[in-house]
Symmetry: D2
Subunit: 335 residues, 4 copies
């Protein structure tokens, strides 16, 4: 961490700052020029509150050099993390496709799609029981009953279940869920992240619509700091000025995240683009760029999906995507 | 709402769609050209799930004409809402300044600043007990104890208290809090919004970093749909490519929101800019543009603030801002 | 095009509007509900100035249904355009890699890299003679002399040359250049686009940093409207809030552009990311997503590149990228 | 400027770098920790090409501390620049309102509006002769004839003329124009900026849609580096995800720019918002925030404006805005 001081810093304040930094076991190197004094801090700066230093009268700027995260940092954990979900591994060279409907609607629907996506090659099953919807008047999901139906689908198909939690108070319903998903809007619901950090269950963390990769990793750090090491990151598009697609899928995030962290990184091309015809090429591109998996929305009858239908594939279209992705995988980018 | 059909829509599907729309008490007007058929829907379209229609094979595009919100809509409630907070009114020509420290740190600190900002002209007191912080290693707020200290400050100063809630499970601690703040990161924490909708307490809803005004209003609609009509909107900057300020303060949102809704709209120039020297000019600009109030961060000793110090004002600087704003107010924009 | 009228439109104004639209050979269909009247315009609406209609007192909103571009529109030209550059075809299943240094620096440099990238598999050679630089104090390119050196490299290597024009007044120097590049900052330099439209030479048009795909296509339409049909589109990243990469590479733009236009679409992963280690995975992803080519920055000695060095590959690294891309290509997305 | 080296930098490369920096008359201070070495450069670093250093193998990161601009920098020119336009001063406490139609359409139109805006209090007259339009099929302006008509309006009204140039090759037509405007799309048309730098005529430089304030100031620096000191900066909104307004007006840019530069800063609320009803509150807010002037679109008959009509005011509405702004001005923010 580097602290750039203002011209002619008040001596007593500088002294206070120096003492305080030393009290955190940091070594300080001064570099003094004609007009500018720079303090270089050596040591574990992840505990230093950057805003606190910025607030000081004598400070012009503060720049971090080392990353503010530790547990998710590949530097301190060079080997890929492999998350094992009931025998289905993800990360470290293991690729998984998570598929299923946006919303759980009925037992028949949820079981039929489970069979279909399993046959097509999906390794995990997703379905929304609790649905974050922009409008209070839109369908909010089947909630507890939706979770029960997902359990039926799991029993029938044998596929482990991924489903989204929206509030701490619902977590008790997720006991038999295999992977708990944190949606984009909750990526910085820090109380929820802390609670998930205390659990021993894989968490699929989706990137927030306006979150930098650093903030994304810090949210994963919240979970890992609590002791839960089973975190899967999911790039799902960011909000930009472009409106031709629902969001802008940031595929450079895959190799960049994998440089910075050992956690598995998957991609959700369905929500990112919001357009069914773009799911296949983006799934293929994600695989080529080195993603550890995909999350794809599939519906048996897109014409009747209760939400997000425009981006859903039929099981036949999904099978076609899986085939195309499987042809890319042997040639995909590996570090 | 307008539905634009694809060329040569399959007749049976079109029939299904028509029946379904009629079942929602909507009138349908067809406008058929050589290549394009347009359906105009007349009636209460706020209940129609736009994504569901978009998913239909025969549909090319769907466009809303009327707003998807009702309770917050000025069309159906032309008169300004005035929220009364222990006698301090906001909205409908009543202007309030909410001031206080980012974080509650000690009884002495919280009471001293309360006295200072009251003397300078603040009508409400803010302070953070629960703090949403990007890093799990940053100070997370004094939490329950912080709320208690705010109550002490209220007793001493007589100022009503505004403080942020981060999770439903903490709400029981907010009984004596006068205004519950929903932070930018929780603007789409829909479960929290629903819970606040069931309460009879003013809610200060901050705009999300990447939320459109429509989404902002929809989140207010969540609260009002539950029966709680005491909602105050707060513009606090959006995330853009510009990094010279922490966020980009969207002051055009003030008159635009006030055209669309009857709810009071206030502005937080401290968090929006993240730079102390910009708080005064942005407070003045917000007042000129017709804001119903301001939320300003004040600290007795910025050099020791535990968070967000760079944007805090001293009580003396705050008093100077209040004076400048008061000179603008008589000439401010009114509809 | 749909025009949504305000409630109770003034009759004479409505009459004027109707007459004016009819004078442009448009058919008008009225759809009148209780509160809303909708006009559907059928015919060639690409000539209608949407802002002009928006300005009318009686108009609430105007929405285009059909695209405002004609020449670039795949609807009216379903077959892929193939641009032939001295025998090197691009588009319609023909994939080309354009490689070379950011800036032309010396005869030795420019010829050596040309030999290297040709050996590695590049089909065209790029090099900057005129350089758009943010700072007036940064190296502005060798300009006319740079073009001459590129011609030497062409003679030696046999590779056709792609280089950027920055102003109409320099165009006379580009006579022997094979492809004229329009940089991101000039994507809406309309006078330049018109001039290029009058030429019979391939134009490589880069997407502007803050341009929507629609605006991108409209800029291509400027060139085609002048009669020049040899336009190659290049996605090179857009400006977003994310700062981990220089720009955010929008790979969904590839299949989306190819749905909307018949023009070839290539990708520049070097400028998009600004990070050398991301060039390979993004090149592979672009190929997988169906791009018609790539533009990659290569330098013989990155430590001495005069600009943009951080994103340049050595010839050896470039050869490795070409190999990886060639393994992806047979399995790439095709419509 | 600070250079952060990678761990264990190769000695010879470090030596080369050090020599090269010293050759630019820079003092270097080393700060060496256990893992990190930091070089602090003292001296005139505005000539240092940051990308060139970034490209070196041994460099991890480079951070500028001092600004890369000199001529526009308030540090080196603390006094406000006052631009005198035929006796109408702008900057240094002098406030000017520039008003007029988006496009010049006819002699009658252009002269009538000139009289009207002068009567209402405008100090300069604007009108578009060359029009940058997204579509090649939209009205492109009256061009040379438009300039002639503006000269007629100048003769009649006595108001100095501001109008936009789109290409160097048209500059000869601007001899009698009082202020040459550079539009947002040309803010980084560096060849044009250099040419304007060689002229002795005020330039009104509009901020690019996706330009940071630093880039904005660097473009002004291009003009000043050529010797032309009469530069007026104009904030006109940036492109963000929000679509409720055409662009997002960044009013914090006013005080921030004025901290960093001595140049006058004005605001264009018409183009920024694209909505007539927002022009007044944003004009008032801009004045309150300390702007040195405004640029407002006025049309005698908005229903027939040839472009951008939705944001135009009638002369009567404009007069109302001027009155409201004049009430704010005595209380406006001053540093």
């Amino acid at each position: 961490m580097i602290i750039i001081l203002k011209d002619n810093p008040e001596e007593k304040q500088l002294d206070n700052l120096t003492q305080w930094l030393k009290s955190m076991d940091l070594d300080i190197h001064f570099s003094t020029g004609e007009n500018t004094t720079i303090m270089g801090l050596i040591g574990d700066t992840s505990v230093v509150d950057i805003d606190l230093i910025m607030a000081l009268d004598i400070v012009q700027a503060v720049k971090r050099i080392s990353e503010p995260y530790k547990n998710v940092n590949r530097k301190f954990h060079p080997k890929d993390t492999i998350v094992d979900i009931a025998g289905n591994k993800i990360g470290g060279g293991n690729f998984q496709i998570i598929a299923g409907p946006c919303s759980v609607e009925s037992k028949d629907q949820v079981c039929r799609i489970a069979r279909d996506v399993k046959a097509a090659g999906a390794g995990l099953y997703r379905g929304g029981a609790f649905k974050p919807r922009t409008s209070p008047y839109a369908f909010q999901g089947m909630r507890e009953e939706g979770i029960n139906l997902l359990m039926e689908a799991k029993k029938e198909s044998g596929l482990p279940i991924v489903t989204e939690v929206m509030d701490i108070s619902h977590l008790h319903l997720f006991e038999d869920v295999d992977v708990i998903q944190v949606g984009a809007r909750n990526m910085q619901n820090f109380e929820l992240l802390k609670e998930l950090g205390r659990m021993d269950k894989p968490v699929l963390l989706k990137r927030g619509l306006s979150s930098t990769l650093k903030e994304f990793l810090m949210s994963a750090e919240y979970i890992m700091a609590g002791g839960n090491e089973k975190v899967i990151l999911c790039e799902r598009g960011i909000r930009t000025f472009e409106t031709a697609t629902r969001n802008t899928l940031d595929l450079a995030a895959i190799p960049l995240l994998k440089e910075k962290t050992h956690l598995p990184v998957i991609v959700d091309p369905s929500h990112a683009t919001g357009i069914a015809s773009l799911v296949k090429p983006m799934a293929m591109a994600a695989a080529a760029a080195g993603a550890d998996g995909l999350m794809i929305e599939v519906h048996n009858d897109p014409a009747h999906a209760l939400c997000d239908g425009a981006q859903s594939l039929t099981p036949a279209q999904f099978a076609d995507v899986v085939k195309a992705v499987n042809l890319i995988l042997p040639h995909a980018f590996r570090g």
